[in-house]
Symmetry: C2
Subunit: 189 residues, 2 copies
């Protein structure tokens, strides 16, 4: 479990079994949540025209966002070849939109905890994804005619990975992440 | 993976292998995060006196919080036997405090996604936990002398479960969680 595959941004257009998506959602259902309110809501997009619309909207916002990003972040994005273009929104066979019902206590936290479950379930099924969160989300409520208390948290494009080679992103060491370093002496690392 | 054990609030006082905690943290390290900033930070508490202090502080805050909670929540808590008392903060052999460095983009979301990974890793090791978030968190920065940009997200008490019988909390059905119900007809459920 500790050797996860990396985030994937290039998808094969090959169809996937929708039963795998149901499996992923059933794993999410098992996540704990504030007051057991289970604030996560899902919208499954497989329609090509709707995927195109979502891509078009996100790219228009991203383009502006990239232009206005702080310099360190522009540099970071450029180094990783991340641009305002989001072809995965159209190429992945399934877009799983994850909303939080923000009327629930700890709705954002609970929903992202469930996203963690979902990423591991997606991997378990041999599928690939990336957590993509557009910087403006109100459009989705209008486009899908959803109540204001549903807030888009992330879009998970799900599919089989294309044959792109990825370089694993560097990770901080345990020594950097553990605040009380003296505990490390008590543990054989 | 979709048949998770429930949240556990009663722990055996039996010691656990600290290498299992390291395994859990190494799983968290694999989580994706906004701009790969890896904003999660961990504080591992095994000292009995520090656990006592944390319990004492949390119970004092919880007591006030329970008294001022909205009626539906008071009722919900009472039905589940949840009181302001938090013995698990002292009884679990390890408290894993999870902080977010909120200077990173999407720090809260990324950290809770990693908490999702951690819960599944804890279960994989045959251990039990509950995500407990005190309603006031500034005290932790003072007590542990941490910079203001570290914000406590949750305390994970980790240990072996006591022999308490739990009733599984009810879960919403997929039909309740999937917004676009028409998709259900396309999927053999």
């Amino acid at each position: 479990m500790s050797k996860r595959r990396e985030t994937i941004r290039d998808f094969s257009k090959e169809k996937i079994n929708l039963e795998d998506i149901i499996y992923v959602l059933n794993v999410a259902r098992e996540a704990p949540s504030g007051a057991n309110k289970q604030p996560w809501r899902f919208l499954i997009v497989i329609d090509e025209d709707i995927k195109k619309e979502i891509r078009r909207y996100c790219e228009s916002v991203e383009r502006k966002f990239h232009e206005n990003a702080p310099d360190w972040f522009k540099k970071w994005l450029a180094e990783r070849g991340i641009s305002w273009r989001k072809p995965f929104l159209e190429e992945a066979p399934v877009l799983l939109l994850v909303f939080a019902d923000i009327r629930a206590p700890y709705a954002i936290q609970s929903t992202w905890l469930a996203v963690g479950y979902m990423l591991l379930a997606i991997e378990e099924k041999g599928l690939a994804t990336v957590t993509y969160t557009p910087s403006r989300i109100k459009w989705f409520n209008e486009f899908f005619n959803l109540p204001d208390h549903y807030k888009l948290q992330t879009i998970l494009p799900i599919g089989k990975p294309a044959d792109t080679k990825y370089q694993k992103q560097p990770r901080k060491s345990l020594e950097e992440l553990i605040i009380n370093k003296e505990i490390l002496e008590k543990i054989r690392l």
